[in-house]
Symmetry: C2
Subunit: 214 residues, 2 copies
């Protein structure tokens, strides 16, 4: 399937839209509006959806250039950014989104905050949300080795609850590459520095790798 | 923190709103709208968010009664439904949502379809999204034993890519209970019946369990 490649101006406008929809989703979970007002707002939302679907893509777009991966993987290999990724994508309203950077030490790091839409146990993040974030961050650490791949195994150890509404630190690093396999490990930590979730994973690069995957 | 308990009428109205916001999020990821139209729609979204936040809760609400858990765990124990859960919650726009039922055999089963907002590799679900769904389904299988708990460990094995846009089957069952620990396992399967992801997990019931957690 052919993917649209967006320039930075389009990305900025669509990221602004996604941010507003992200706020709306959070408001929908926390609203104390009565049934009548909720239904009235729902009707307005339907009209906005119609405006956005008047012209529609077949699949989420990618963004070209200006990319941390371009730097990490060298000039010779271009990997377009997956701007609608459900964890990191600024164009995706369901993404927190988590901003990640790859250090010269190969460690992928990011800070993020989870709101009410990610709640599992009262006032804590859903365990599956932590798993989703760690899958992405470990996958990016694997990709930073130059051997990006799809998740083959993912193991999570929950040490303590992950709080909502405060800045969380996530980091990951690849430990070794064996042919098309890459092993990586990482953690999420609370503001007090204590690790809440540990993860380790193995990623496998498909034989016919699509370079516009990440 | 005190939680609001909603009646079925409120749940229906707020679920309708969440469904519309879910559609808007999908449209935002796939829209081919230009920068000007995207910005105009974003402004309208901001106004709707303001309407919803005019009256606001401190935390996501729960719904009382009419609950599969009430039936499973017996009349003596009431566990309110977490209607804004990020996997199963009809009041949560980021939830697919996955509808689950507990069979008399103790197996939790559900069917769900993942749209573009959940994309990882092109045309397939993000590995972390499958992890998030399985954490929830295995957790509900654990809870069905009468010993609900928080995720302690979660292990995922990705057998093949999980396709977007088609009905997926998920199921899980608890294998054993050891004091406050419950072990469970489950799978996601594609429409052809082939398993795409396998999971096993261990859940631990907190010493002071909050009954309105699920």
């Amino acid at each position: 399937m052919e993917r649209d490649l967006l320039g930075e101006d389009d990305v900025a406008a669509l990221a602004g839209l996604a941010e507003r929809v992200r706020e709306l989703a959070g408001a929908a979970v926390l609203t104390g509006a009565g049934a009548e007002e909720a239904a009235a707002v729902a009707d307005e939302v339907t009209a906005l959806t119609a405006r956005l679907t008047a012209k529609r893509r077949n699949a989420p777009p990618y963004a070209a250039s200006g990319d941390i991966w371009t730097a990490t993987l060298g000039e010779g290999r271009r990997i377009d950014r997956q701007v609608a990724n459900p964890v990191t994508g600024h164009l995706n309203p369901i993404a927190p989104p988590v901003d990640l950077e790859v250090g010269s030490d190969g460690i992928v790091r990011g800070e993020f905050t989870l709101g009410a839409v990610y709640e599992g146990p009262p006032s804590y993040a859903h365990g599956g949300v932590s798993a989703m974030v760690l899958d992405q961050v470990l996958g990016m650490a694997a990709a930073a080795t130059g051997t990006p791949g799809m998740t083959a195994t993912l193991e999570l150890r929950y040490r303590r609850p992950t709080p909502l509404g405060v800045p969380l630190q996530v980091e990951a690093k690849a430990s070794r590459v064996e042919g098309r396999k890459v092993y990586a490990a990482g953690t999420i930590a609370a503001p007090d520095g204590r690790v809440t979730v540990e993860a380790s994973a193995m990623f496998v690069m498909p034989r016919h790798f699509v370079t516009s995957q990440y």
